[in-house]
């Protein structure tokens, strides 16, 4: 412990007080009892965690995982060709492509959500155009439905999936493909049997990269999903603010963190494997 200089300890102290301690408080609270009066009682209990598995909350949990997984898969379908295009372009074109992909993400997050609202709303550009063209009679309801949540998730997370796939494709040795072609494979055979299996790890890492933060999403379901489309994060926040049941809210936070840590652990293991494969 002596080997760290004093300045480092200052940094550790800062991290412990402002990050670790608040997080530990939540975890501690999650194993305490809530009395009928709404105060917190310092007795150890796992009741709050067991309540998370009550069907009411298990359903929200299932939905969060399902929606996040579907959105991740959609990002993958859209993101793969984007990464492929970037990887096969060279020099300035590639740089421009990457910058173009990221420019929208330099704007404020809440602004991007607002941009979705004003595009998909009943008076938004999309409905306006479709009505004008006579394709629809009534505005289509996209906001405050699950579709709205999907659009929001895909829009806000896409580039974070493109980048890991792009770097996997970039590192792929072209001689693999040339060898496949020389051995008589056609383009689609080469793609499915040589290119894709070799970037599989990049795909998995990238998918986890967007799937994990999606699980903890709060703002997108809140603003684009309306009252029905709630994620685990929204239930957690409402336990703190609306229900005033802090220990239960804390238990949801604990469970969410556990899932994130497990997913993260898996991601690092995959990443090591990728590095092992590419080294």
């Amino acid at each position: 412990m002596k080997r760290y200089p004093g300045t480092a300890w200052f940094f550790f102290g800062w991290l412990v007080i402002l990050t670790l301690l608040p997080f530990a408080l939540i975890l501690g609270m999650s194993v305490m009892e809530r009395t009928i009066q709404g105060t917190i009682h310092f007795t150890f209990t796992l009741e709050n965690y067991l309540r998370c598995f009550h069907w009411l909350y298990a359903k929200v949990f299932g939905k969060t995982v399902l929606v996040a997984a579907t959105a991740t898969f959609s990002c993958l379908l859209i993101g793969f060709p984007v990464a492929y295009h970037l990887a096969r372009s060279t020099g300035a074109r590639r740089q421009v492509g990457l910058v173009l992909l990221f420019i929208p993400f330099w704007t404020n997050f809440i602004l991007r959500v607002h941009a979705m609202v004003s595009l998909f709303g009943n008076h938004g550009l999309l409905n306006h155009m479709l009505l004008e063209l006579g394709l629809i009679e009534e505005p289509i309801q996209i906001l405050y439905t699950r579709t709205g949540v999907y659009f929001g998730l895909i829009y806000n997370y896409l580039p974070f999936l493109v980048i890991p796939i792009f770097s996997a494709l970039e590192k792929l040795d072209p001689s693999f493909r040339e060898a496949a072609m020389d051995l008589g494979a056609n383009r689609s055979q080469t793609f499915w049997r040589v290119t894709l299996p070799n970037v599989r790890e990049g795909v998995v890492v990238g998918s986890l990269f967007v799937f994990i933060p999606m699980l903890g999403e709060y703002v997108i379901p809140d603003l684009l999903g309306g009252a029905k489309e709630v994620f685990l994060g929204n239930v957690m926040v409402s336990q703190f603010f609306t229900m005033q049941d802090w220990p239960f809210g804390a238990a949801i936070a604990g469970l969410l963190s556990l899932i994130l840590l497990v997913a993260l652990f898996m991601q690092t293991r995959w990443q090591r494997r990728v590095q092992g494969v590419l080294a």
Binding site: G6, W14, T19, V82, R88, N108, I110, G121, F160, R187
Partner: protein
């Protein structure tokens, strides 16, 4: 990778790029519409002029800048302590220390925000300006730390050793040798921390209490009421601010790498 000609891939790429820009272009267009619900109503700068004339824009803007400046300065100071201290440690850091430094980056924002809120409530600190500054500084310090560590790693350790041999004390070594050499990293880190603070919504949402309004919080509360011409005008201004911040970051050496990493 060797190029394979498949026009479909290029078409998908440009379509996706187009779709990514469409919502933002729509926002910019709406900011100039006389009636945002009617595309045919003509363009004007009336809403922008109204926005600039109102307190509802300037007060949150000033609050956001004040918070950003204080949070970024605090974050850079704390991260410098950590980076300079830990760069002298030769061995790799144990996993527990690594996790501690990464924790602010790894935890989902909603959990960071909530736990800070509960923490502030329990120690009975009044929520407001200073809790938001502390919260922002606490999550950006780790980002700045990684920038500084990278910069310090490029420094020749012999410079510090030479200073030591010539009889300089610890603080002298820092101010006369280390500090001048990491100024680009400090400036880049400061800008990054300012941008993170200026753009943050969720953590401000939890730690600001009732009275304080930053620009993202203003947009949120206006969205809750419904789409209004004022909101569109404010969005346009926000887009302009965000882009100029990023262009400043990009103009710095290595800036692009940091932007990509932090987003």
């Amino acid at each position: 990778m060797k190029p394979v000609r498949n026009p479909l891939v290029a078409i998908v790429f440009w379509m996706v790029i187009g779709l990514l820009y469409l919502p933002l272009l729509n926002l910019i267009m709406q900011a100039f519409l006389v009636d945002p619900r009617n595309i045919g109503s003509g363009f004007s700068t009336i809403w922008l002029r109204k926005l600039f004339a109102s307190d509802a824009f300037w007060r949150p803007l000033v609050t956001s800048i004040e918070i950003g400046v204080l949070a970024a300065t605090t974050a850079v100071a704390v991260a410098t302590f950590g980076a300079v201290g830990l760069s002298r440690v030769r061995s790799t850091l144990p996993p527990a220390v690594q996790t501690l430094i990464l924790l602010p980056i790894l935890l989902p924002e909603v959990i960071t925000g909530l736990s800070l809120l509960i923490f502030f409530l329990l120690i009975r600190v009044e929520l407001g300006f200073f809790t938001v500054v502390l919260a922002h500084a606490s999550f950006s310090a780790s980002f700045v730390y990684f920038i500084l560590v990278e910069q310090l790693r490029k420094l020749d350790p012999q410079m510090e050793e030479a200073a030591q041999d010539l009889g300089a004390r610890g603080s002298q070594i820092f101010w006369k040798v280390t500090f001048p050499n990491i100024i680009p990293g400090l400036m880049g880190g400061w800008l990054l921390a300012f941008t993170l603070s200026f753009d943050d919504f969720l953590i401000s949402f939890f730690t600001s209490g009732a009275g304080l309004t930053t620009l993202p919080l203003k947009i949120y509360s206006m969205m809750r009421i419904g789409i209004s011409p004022e909101l569109n005008a404010l969005s346009f201004v926000m887009i302009c601010i965000s882009f100029s911040l990023v262009i400043t970051l990009l103009s710095k050496e290595q800036g692009r790498e940091w932007v990509l990493k932090s987003s």
